[in-house]
Symmetry: C2
Subunit: 437 residues, 2 copies
């Protein structure tokens, strides 16, 4: 079983920052993140994972929820110096960045960390990001995914632009590198033209691991072509199994084998020594949600200002906007199915934000993870602690030992690189003469 520690602000729950177990003053402090990364490494997690966006979503989020955090590549680079094994996964959008920079930064992180970097590719769910990048309008969903496809091609080519043995570094002869093993990529596409080569040599992992999280049609298609890990939101085992088998089938269409991609649904665990205690913990967190924070979150996720409607009225009908697609559909369906008010819907997603919530004892939570894992619903899970560092400490101290006792999870790292942890092979270099063309 593979496990990611999804570190989000000072915890995933919307009111996490108000919880006594959250070090909310640490949100911009390296010490806080160092403790989290070292705890996750003590728990033998495959990786820590940071979400991202490049905008302050709205005034409500600013006022009532944690709304600042360090930029992920900067933070993971710092953490690479104080950890040894754990994978370091950062989210970066393809919509408002340049592939040369992103290829270079992740390649640098892979070198500095000794082979532990991963890139979670997103296309930006918030349409307001456009206004921070001299754009009048957020590109349409389909266009964003077309651009992302090209972008990933460019980045992978740049990562291959130095062959493994291109660096010679022979002090005697004065030959630093073998220029026959360094390649311009001469990429000419619809969105990008990039000459290369990259000014970073091939990395310890060959290439950083590529992660994707989009679960829309276009997102799944792109993931089947290019991802090595898929983060996904699944509520029931049936849905999760259907998603799992459909992606694994799609892989084969693209000439890839089923185990080249690890599927890891998000899980939001609330752990108690008894079920009753766990439920009380959940209720306590829900009570901490400021109503304006709830509406703010819902407005963000649906890319629509809901603060103008009555809190205790139904979710109004409005057209889907140009943001994240799969999350939008999930919320509309949930509200309809259970006839929820805006307040109720916002409280329902205040914790897991559309991911699966598990409330119970360590054994009960381990049971659920095991059930999905052995039944082909997941290759592992992206664990979303409700508050930090408390929620991560609890998971590492109580759930991980149960998974280890059952033989489901490692007790020691078998290798040093993230690909080792995930069981992913080092990719062949497309420019190498020995590559199968």
């Amino acid at each position: 079983m593979h496990l990611g520690a999804f570190l989000y602000y000072v915890g995933h729950h919307l009111a996490a920052w108000r919880h006594p177990g959250a070090k909310s003053n640490g949100i911009m402090d390296l010490k806080f993140y160092k403790e989290l990364a070292q705890t996750a490494e003590r728990g033998k997690f495959d990786m820590i994972f940071l979400a991202d966006n490049v905008v302050v979503p709205n005034d409500t989020a600013v006022s009532y929820t944690a709304s600042v955090k360090p930029e992920p590549i900067t933070l993971l680079s710092a953490l690479s110096a104080v950890t040894e094994y754990i994978g370091l996964a950062a989210t970066v959008t393809t919509t408002y960045t340049e592939p040369y920079h992103i290829a270079r930064m992740f390649a640098s992180l892979d070198h500095l960390s000794g082979g532990r970097a991963a890139w979670n590719v997103v296309t930006s769910a918030y349409s307001t990001e456009a206004y921070n990048f001299s754009k009048e309008k957020h590109p349409d969903h389909g266009l964003r995914y077309q651009r992302a496809k090209e972008y990933i091609d460019v980045v992978k080519s740049l990562w291959d632009s130095w062959e493994d043995d291109a660096l010679v570094i022979d002090k005697e002869s004065g030959i630093f590198a073998d220029s026959s093993k360094i390649h311009a990529i001469d990429y000419e596409g619809e969105f990008f033209s990039v000459r290369g080569p990259l000014n970073v040599s091939r990395t310890p992992q060959g290439r950083p691991v590529i992660i994707q999280a989009g679960s829309s049609g276009a997102g799944k298609e792109l993931a089947a072509q290019t991802a090595e890990v898929i983060f996904t939101a699944q509520q029931t085992r049936e849905e999760a199994e259907a998603f799992y088998s459909s992606v694994k089938k799609q892989l084969i269409q693209y000439g890839r084998s089923a185990d080249e991609v690890k599927i890891m649904p998000g899980v939001f665990p609330i752990i108690g020594s008894t079920l009753k205690e766990a439920k009380e913990k959940e209720a306590y967190l829900q009570e901490l949600v400021h109503p304006m924070a709830g509406v703010g979150l819902l407005s963000d996720l649906m890319d629509h200002d809901l603060s103008v409607y009555p809190l205790d009225g139904p979710l109004p009908e409005f057209a889907e906007t140009n943001g994240g697609k799969s999350r939008f559909d999930l919320l509309v369906n949930l509200a309809k199915k259970e006839n929820l008010t805006i307040r109720e819907l916002s409280l329902r997603i205040a914790g897991a934000r559309g991911h699966r919530t598990l409330v119970g004892t360590p054994e009960m939570i381990a049971d659920q993870l095991e059930e999905w894992f052995v039944n082909g619903a997941a290759d592992g899970f992206n664990i979303m602690p409700p508050y930090l560092p408390g929620g991560l400490d609890e998971f590492v101290n109580t759930v991980i030992p149960v998974l280890q006792q059952r033989g489901l999870f490692r007790t020691e790292y078998a290798g040093r690189m993230l690909r080792d942890h995930l069981g992913l092979a080092k990719p062949q270099n497309k420019f190498s003469k020995s590559a199968v063309l």
Copy 2:
């Protein structure tokens, strides 16, 4: 006196990587840089400084000189976790990046390092960088500086977009931040339109320190308006004094005081226990230069392929291209004045690359630094070790103690932030009600 440790590949000398004192296999390895940063911190340097470009300049550089290195922000973020006092200065171009990203990364680095970040603003000297960013042509020198001016305005506004006390984090009331102290910047310029606010709160230093290195007319003008540190290449004390007093005068025109900017010329030191030993060290380094490496460097610096001309012939006349302006003029003048061949010119710049070379005993080098410092030619120096780590070790072990004995350089850090080391005040926030408007 202020000192920067300018870390460049495995040393500034073109043949550094061939020197026995250079750990050339460490060029992509965090351990190598960690040792350098900790040595510089032991020597009480104000900061370490990383140059940058976003291209592999040419095939010759690839084959015969160190031609890969980690991306600077990634590297400095990693080093922030294993150092405590030393400033962390990275070069980033304004020509091929977005101000929101760069504001955010440096703000994150400033938070994570506890107030030690600095940004060296450049406009890209290599015209071939354009081809890595889907551009057909490198913008003209003047246009690049116009863009840089706007870019810095945007970045500074984003850094101010959260006032110092905007974060409330009151768990009891549920108020995370005071939205009246968080500001959209609504920037509309010729090159950029950026809404803001930044999604990072105001940083420990208020803003990261801004450094500039351009010494052309446009470069000096921009520096006088916006820089807090100026790196410059000066060969003689007379030139240095003229540059120093002209910049300090320009500052006053822009309503700034003379001590708001620290001027730090580059110095390339070759240290021996006797003058004879130092000269032998220099000769040894020069002998290590592969002729093709020399021509490659010269071609890069002049943005013109010189490998097609006879090595032992004169520097041909050709038009100045669209790259770095001040360096081009310096090289043409040097070749003309001393009637140098291409080989001779390339050997002349193989070490200091246009900066001042000091060859001698620790006392002789300290004498030179003192002379410039006390005579108003410099506020400090950017030290360019010939090879790394050896050249930095030597400087810290032998020259720094002499400067300290003379009372010219600190023996302990007086504060924790880079602004403390440099004697620069925390900038006032332009959005703050108490700001003088």
